[in-house]
Symmetry: C2
Subunit: 357 residues, 2 copies
């Protein structure tokens, strides 16, 4: 069996943390993987030096995951074509707004038999269609794509604090179609599972991607509740209703998605919980209430103009629901999602968050 | 149709809060209910005056829910026989350790056609059997008993903060068996549902009772995690695993119980969340770690000797699992429940909480 060659496409906070895990596991499973893990680094200068050079000297991403040794077998590479050369296991973890451009640039240069796993958060809505990133990756690269998601704050994962993550696999990737290669499920499990980063596999790639893509809308609702000084009964009710709405939304519009992925797995329940307790979207939503500022203003002030995922997602879901209005009218609708959108974009009073629930 | 007469059996923090809700709803549905709601008060003196007299003068339970008007139609009654006289709708909300004695004293004096709903937290294990309070109430009183549970901190409910609660009904109580009376489901829904205290009904009385009975074992685990300074990835993983263990435990030993009650309803997911974020068991568990004291010592120091629910429940589940060891060995076991028990009673190091998960 030819060895698998791993490339991490992306080098932010989460990309660096997952490169470290992959670098440990390729050594552990040296019968399956080549020892070098390449990491595509969007080049930038840090104190006058290229980030990729710093990573290759210090084995540390000083800008996005400082203080953590990635492993001497992680090789940073600023040229995307070189980075993926010969790579058969692609971990896609670029910010969603850059994903399509990066993938388009790579698609002619893929190694034969390459497979991908998406760690990208977010969804893409266009008119009356909504797409997940594993689906987008699959269609641009023409290869199978799995998904990984869970209650996985990068800095905690990098410290080997105990946590779980969910691996979503396409049904055809659950078993190997050829005795000379691993199934998708086996490949990614062996690359990610450690004693403190526990992988559970589910045959539901879109479910895993959608949980991570939509959770921040609930986190905003939880943050509004905190900002209004509402108690824990109310916050728990909002989180419960949020989980159910997102689950119902996805099961309705993605008929193959499984409710259990949302209700039972780390990528659902546990990740939503973490986002509602300590996530960035929750925090900004709380500040919107306490300061009276809009999210756009707080993005400028506190995130250096970086966009917050929650409002963007709420906007995408709202437009999608508008485009499918006839269909939605026949169901119970999604009042929490719509109320979050109205508070973010229409100036609705946050006290009305629970209206119509 | 003869009007229903409501009696709240119990007058603690939660009993008083629910008496207030019932007192509002009997007036709203005056075609169904008699206006007076009696409340059985275990008599005690407050500043030299009987608590029941104070409640009847001030319409306020100054000891257990101070600052809240219960409604002038709530009548406190220290004699249990007088309290339940003519009552057809019994809300049982005494602490679980007194429940059987109180019920035994009442059973000869029930009004014809009486029905009950249990708000008691806890379970009762005896050898290789485990009982829920709706079951115990049904068998002592010989009447049908439903259950109410959810993310319902009493003081927040008393302030009309938005929340949800789950009503668990026996299958035979979902529909009326006689056109002259309401079904159990309708009776309790009309007595409890308000715009800010939202009732969702499920045909699963034991599931609702078990969620509230077992949740504090997870709350202890969450508190240990907090005390150890573990991050939110780990805490979310522990909560997720806890929900799944409790669900699996109940589905295994109570075959009629429905998984959805744990995963989708306020009495499950949302109540467990609240207990893991702001409950008393969570807090004491955190202090066990920070002070190195046992829970018994903290009960004396901080709860005036009152017993904490979590350790008691862990002990009951442990004994029950011991008695059913052969059966448990064949399943995956319940490592989180057992680890919580070992930390509480066997001096196991709390860092081992995640062992075997």
């Amino acid at each position: 069996m030819a060895k698998e060659k791993v490339c991490v496409v992306g080098s932010g906070n989460w990309g660096s943390a997952i490169a470290r895990i992959a670098a440990l596991n390729v050594k552990k499973h040296s019968d399956i993987f080549e020892e070098e893990v390449t990491m595509y680094v969007h080049e930038e200068e840090v104190d006058g030096e290229p980030l990729s050079s710093i990573i290759n000297e210090k084995h540390e991403n000083v800008k996005y995951l400082s203080g953590v040794q990635l492993g001497s077998n992680v090789k940073a590479e600023p040229d995307p074509i070189k980075a993926i050369k010969g790579a058969t296991a692609l971990i896609i973890v670029v910010p969603h707004q850059f994903a399509e451009k990066v993938l388009e640039g790579m698609k002619e240069h893929l190694a034969p038999g390459a497979r991908a796993v998406s760690l990208i958060k977010g969804v893409k809505a266009k008119g009356d269609k909504i797409y997940t990133y594993p689906g987008i990756i699959s269609s641009i690269l023409g290869i199978r794509c799995s998904a990984l998601g869970g209650a996985n704050i990068a800095t905690e994962v990098a410290q080997d604090q105990f946590c779980e993550s969910t691996l979503g696999i396409m049904p055809e990737g659950m078993k190997s179609d050829d005795q000379n290669s691993l199934s998708d499920a086996d490949l990614w499990f062996k690359l990610f599972d450690t004693p403190t980063f526990r992988i559970r596999t589910v045959p539901d790639v879109d479910g895993v991607a959608l949980c991570g893509g939509l959770k921040n809308v609930i986190a905003l609702a939880a943050g509004f509740s905190d900002g209004l000084g509402w108690g824990s009964n109310t916050k728990s009710a909002i989180i419960r209703i949020g989980i159910m709405e997102i689950k119902d939304f996805c099961v309705h519009f993605f008929p193959k998605v499984k409710a259990e992925t949302f209700l039972e797995e780390s990528c659902g329940l546990a990740d939503i919980l973490t986002s509602c307790i300590s996530g960035r979207n929750r925090k900004v939503a709380e500040e919107m209430i306490k300061t009276g500022k809009g999210f756009q203003e707080l993005e400028k002030e506190e995130l250096g103009g970086q966009s917050l995922q929650g409002p963007q997602t709420a906007e995408q879901l709202h437009k999608f629901l508008e485009a499918r209005r006839d269909e939605v009218r026949r169901s119970n609708g999604f009042p929490l999602i719509e109320n979050v959108w109205k508070i973010c974009y229409e100036g609705m009073s946050p006290e009305k968050l629970i209206e119509g629930l």
